[in-house]
């Protein structure tokens, strides 16, 4: 069952987003969608920051840009560990400072392994052999195996307690469609978390989304926050 929380204006939007993440506990692993700013669920991230949970592990492709969204969450001291593929960017100063000060842990994962490890979590796969990273420092300490003449390393699933995802339109069943490259990690993260919270700009009646074009079926969606 998907709960749909609708905001009527900007103030209400914050309250609704707050309600949607109110049960995220200290120490939770939170998967956060987006590739740079595209698909980043800013309203939910801001709500998570206001929530004040500590010792979070956050999984995202990057480690925040500028001073808003994920960067602001990091600046608030809520995050103990970042799991990402590309933390270092021209405007990742918040993360850079925390990292150099030893105030945040970092696990760098090649981008495809990051996506596939979350897909494995959602798909009930216990582990998989990936050719990505073989022979590099990121494979150190990992089990290696040659299969059919090719070298692979064993990768384990990444599960989230929560996923925060931005989609385009939801129906009241929780079915989702996305927009262009803002789709990115959203559909995978939605499958990999115990509780998936999605922000959309519009909700339509059940039956209004064409069943052929649904990208994330409602079974993966626990809460939809509609932010106008």
């Amino acid at each position: 069952m998907t709960d749909v929380l609708e905001a009527t204006d900007a103030t209400d939007a914050a309250a609704v987003a707050d309600a949607a993440v109110a049960d995220v506990p200290d120490g939770a692993t939170v998967l956060i969608g987006g590739f740079g700013a595209a698909g980043q669920p800013v309203e939910l991230i801001d709500a998570l920051r206001r929530r004040g949970a500590r010792d979070l592990t956050v999984v995202n492709n990057n480690a925040g840009n500028g001073d808003t969204g994920l960067a602001a969450l990091l600046a608030s001291g809520a995050v103990r560990k970042m799991v990402c593929s590309f933390p270092r960017q021209s405007d990742s100063w918040v993360f850079d400072d925390l990292y150099r000060a030893g105030k945040i842990e970092l696990e760098v994962v090649p981008q495809g392994n990051l996506a596939e490890r979350m897909r494995a979590a959602g798909a009930g796969i216990g582990a998989f052999f990936s050719p990505t990273g073989v022979g590099t420092p990121l494979a150190e300490g990992k089990e290696e195996r040659t299969i059919d003449g090719r070298r692979y390393v064993l990768e384990l699933p990444i599960r989230g307690d929560y996923a925060l995802v931005k989609a385009h339109v939801a129906d009241r069943t929780g079915n989702l469609v996305y927009r262009k490259t803002a789709r990115n990690f959203g559909p995978v993260m939605a499958t990999a978390a115990t509780t998936t919270v999605v922000q959309v700009s519009r909700v339509v009646a059940t039956g209004e989304l064409d069943p052929e074009v649904v990208v994330t079926p409602g079974i993966y969606v626990d809460r939809v926050v509609v932010t106008p």
Binding site: P110, Q111, E116, T181
Partner: protein
């Protein structure tokens, strides 16, 4: 002897070597120049790791859409026949060997095709790999576009990489200001030298170049 190649000439040479109808990923930075030289008539399709086939040129003016960006987070446009997919599908496409060519920058390439392009090995550097390792092992052909010599004059084509690796024995060609180096099981072969003789380049790189 011809002059050293400019970046644009190198990019044009790469574009010429991309087969008709190929599916291609262009890495962040210099490799994006290749797009400017692709003949659209030849139906080359660009892949971007963040979930799209049929990526077009950089967006300008009203075309800019924050939901439509490339791997370098630059707004782009879509071309007819484009498609969108999620990250696991995008990297499955890459890892599964479905891309014909990817073009990457590099710090170092070894004579056996080892690639180092993600980390200088400096102890205080914040490591960041992005999709480089997936691209390095995924595309059927991995082309590197780089200067042959670093600012300190050291050859970036090396017997063995000293920087941390991105991928093992994955590069097939290295496009530089001095020409195209083909990585083969029999050794490195320079197609045609630019701005220096084969002997001079053998001397400066310290490598046998057939």
């Amino acid at each position: 002897m011809s002059d050293r190649l400019t970046k644009d000439q190198i990019a044009a040479m790469i574009a010429d070597d991309i087969p008709t109808g190929a599916f291609v990923n262009l890495g962040i930075g210099q490799p994006t120049l290749v797009a400017d030289h692709l003949d659209l008539e030849r139906g080359v399709v660009l892949h971007t790791e963040n979930g799209m086939l049929g990526m077009g040129r950089a967006a300008v003016g009203d075309e800019v859409d924050p939901d439509l960006i490339n791997a370098g987070k630059i707004p782009v446009v879509e071309t007819p026949g484009a498609s969108y997919f999620h990250h696991a599908d995008s990297f499955a496409m890459m890892r599964g060997g479905h891309l014909d060519v990817c073009v990457l920058g590099a710090f170092q390439v070894a004579v056996n095709g080892d690639l180092a392009n993600w980390h200088t090995g400096a102890p205080d550097a914040i490591p960041a790999v992005g999709g480089a390792m997936d691209l390095a092992i995924g595309a059927k052909d991995v082309f590197v576009m780089m200067t042959l010599f670093g600012k300190d004059g050291a050859s970036k084509l090396v017997r063995e990489c000293t920087y941390p690796l991105t991928g093992v024995a994955c590069v097939s060609r290295v496009y530089t200001e001095h020409g195209v180096f083909e990585i083969t099981p029999a050794g490195v072969r320079l197609r045609e030298p630019y701005g220096a003789t084969l002997e001079e380049l053998e001397d400066r790189t310290g490598l046998p170049l057939r």
